[in-house]
């Protein structure tokens, strides 16, 4: 389901609201809160790769879709230009190339040492998930030759939020694999 919405709240900019700082000692005190005040929504991205073997051309093309929460991108890139706490479609569109530049810096695919697959972004859309709007980044990764396996290197947001997780699904003619990408599990091998 894809909905281009005109406007939606960007909760990460609620930071503009005044927050109460307790006395230094009370900084992290909360007896009652710790028992139930669990915020469930944490940072997730969804990465799906679909390999298409094309032996005729002697190379392998992998189609990718990478859904990244706009609120996470906003924290990293300040998409909310007017700072009104809401992200509009035009604010996101203005930053499309910045989003590409930022995200693809943290995703590498190779087919063995010194054999990187080149990633070419194709388009961006907005995807609606249960916990809010995501930027859906579509790309193709082209690997020379026809490797038997590829290695994925994933590092999105880990430096600013180590609890970020990439939910990874890989599909090829002969293989379906899933993995949970985390700072401790950032490099994944998958057979084609």
């Amino acid at each position: 389901m894809r909905i281009a919405r005109r406007s939606f709240p960007a909760p990460s900019t609620f930071g503009l609201m005044a927050i109460f700082r307790l006395m230094a000692l009370l900084g992290s005190i909360s007896v009652a809160a710790s028992s139930t005040a669990v915020a469930h929504s944490a940072s997730d991205a969804y990465l799906t790769l679909t390999a298409e073997k094309s032996s005729a051309a002697g190379r392998t093309i992998i189609h990718g879709q990478w859904d990244i929460a706009l609120r996470d991108l906003d924290f990293a890139l300040k998409l909310d230009e007017d700072g009104d706490g809401r992200l509009t479609w035009s604010e996101v569109r203005h930053h499309q190339s910045a989003i590409d530049q930022y995200a693809y810096r943290y995703l590498k695919i190779d087919a063995g040492e010194h054999n990187a697959c080149s990633i070419t972004p194709s388009r961006q859309m907005i995807d609606e998930h249960a916990d809010g709007a995501y930027a859906a980044l579509f790309f193709d990764a082209v690997c020379a030759h026809a490797p038997r396996k590829i290695t994925l290197h994933y590092a999105l947001f880990f430096a600013i939020d180590p609890s970020h997780r990439g939910i990874f699904v890989f599909k090829s003619d002969s293989n379906i694999a899933t993995a949970l990408l985390s700072p401790d599990n950032a490099d994944i091998n998958v057979g084609l």
Partner: protein, 348 residues
């Protein structure tokens, strides 16, 4: 937070700048019910936590983050490590007391609170002891102690006062004094209108008092928080609203997203969801029992009792019934549930 971030950027090696920013993120994370900020706090404090000899202040912050994510064992380990380095660290003792209360180990919590009294001062110490007593059949005393803290806190920051008001509301609920509980919830929310914990606790209060129509406006602007979203869905269900189907679908998708990311575990909420919105008492009971292995606050007991009754499996609640008897927890909502289950257990 912007200013604190700028300070840290200017002095990236300053532990005190990192500590201030991390604590602001954690406070905010709790306040709005949003785990992202706990992740940002973790990144800020990480260089010190990873050090060969991590400072106590960094360990306490990391423990608080883990506790917030219900990674209780790991949190406990870090707090013990902190106290080896700095045996008089008041924040570590208080966090440990909280942890022991959440896990139902009230004897150890009493020792932790004694340390809080001697290391953090009488007022914070009294709130520790006061909230502990509300779990051990001494809710009346608990209320008296917390009222003393309330008086002493008259000029404290709003966040602290709101926290004390929340504890008072909880103690009043233990006694079944609903008007008093409501007075304290409302006072707390006047001080901290956006606080996710307070909003959700008050919403639970309203649901129990058969006032679901008041939950909708209360939480309308808080759908981003999963705990708040669950209460909205429960209120819609109680009101037979057409929206409940959609909300149930979204809630299920959010739990699925949590399951996919693998780390965190929110059995209490999932059990309520399974019982009240998916009408699956067996799944609810299974989740409630698994949750009971991790957390033992009154609500954790309650989801087990409710699911055991609905699933017609009174024997499954035996451990919880024994716990209630042992701790003498007073609770006018738990008491009749426990009584029904005990009666069923005695039937031939």
């Amino acid at each position: 937070m912007k200013t604190l971030r700028a300070t840290l950027n200017a002095t990236p090696r300053s532990l005190s700048a990192a500590k201030d920013l991390a604590e602001a993120y954690i406070d905010y994370s709790r306040q709005v019910g949003d785990a992202h900020y706990a992740g940002y706090a973790e990144a800020v404090i990480a260089p010190w936590v990873r050090a060969a000899a991590p400072p106590a202040a960094a360990l306490v912050i990391q423990a608080t983050i883990l506790q917030y994510r219900h990674q209780f064992d790991a949190a406990r380990g870090l707090l013990q490590k902190t106290l080896e380095i700095d045996p008089r660290n008041a924040q570590a003792w208080l966090t440990l007391a909280t942890l022991d209360m959440v896990q139902g180990d009230y004897e150890t919590a009493a020792k932790d609170c004694a340390q809080v009294v001697s290391n953090a001062g009488i007022d914070i110490g009294l709130s520790c002891v006061g909230s502990l007593r509300s779990y051990t059949g001494q809710a009346r005393q608990s209320l008296t102690l917390l009222q003393q803290v309330e008086t002493a806190a008259a000029r404290a920051p709003a966040g602290y006062q709101a926290w004390v008001q929340g504890l008072l509301a909880e103690s009043a609920e233990r006694l079944g004094d609903w008007p008093l509980a409501e007075t304290h919830y409302r006072a707390a929310l006047r001080l901290q209108p956006q606080d996710n914990y307070l909003l959700v606790a008050y919403a639970d209060f309203l649901l129990d008092r058969s006032r679901p129509e008041e939950v909708l406006p209360l939480l309308a602007d808080h759908t981003q928080s999963d705990t708040a979203f669950l209460r909205l869905a429960l209120a819609q269900s109680a009101l037979h609203s057409e929206q409940v189907q959609r909300s149930t679908w979204i809630m299920a998708a959010r739990f699925e997203a949590l399951r996919l990311r693998g780390s965190e575990y929110f059995g209490r909420e999932e059990s309520r969801f399974a019982l009240a919105l998916q009408h699956d008492p067996h799944a609810a009971l299974e989740m409630a029992l698994r949750n009971w292995q991790v957390q033992r606050a009154p609500w954790d007991a309650r989801v087990v009792l409710e699911a055991a009754l609905a699933a017609k499996q009174p024997a499954a609640a035996a451990a919880v019934l024994e716990f209630l008897q042992k701790t003498k927890l007073e609770d006018p909502i738990l008491a009749p549930l426990a009584k029904d289950l005990r009666a069923q257990l005695q039937e031939p």
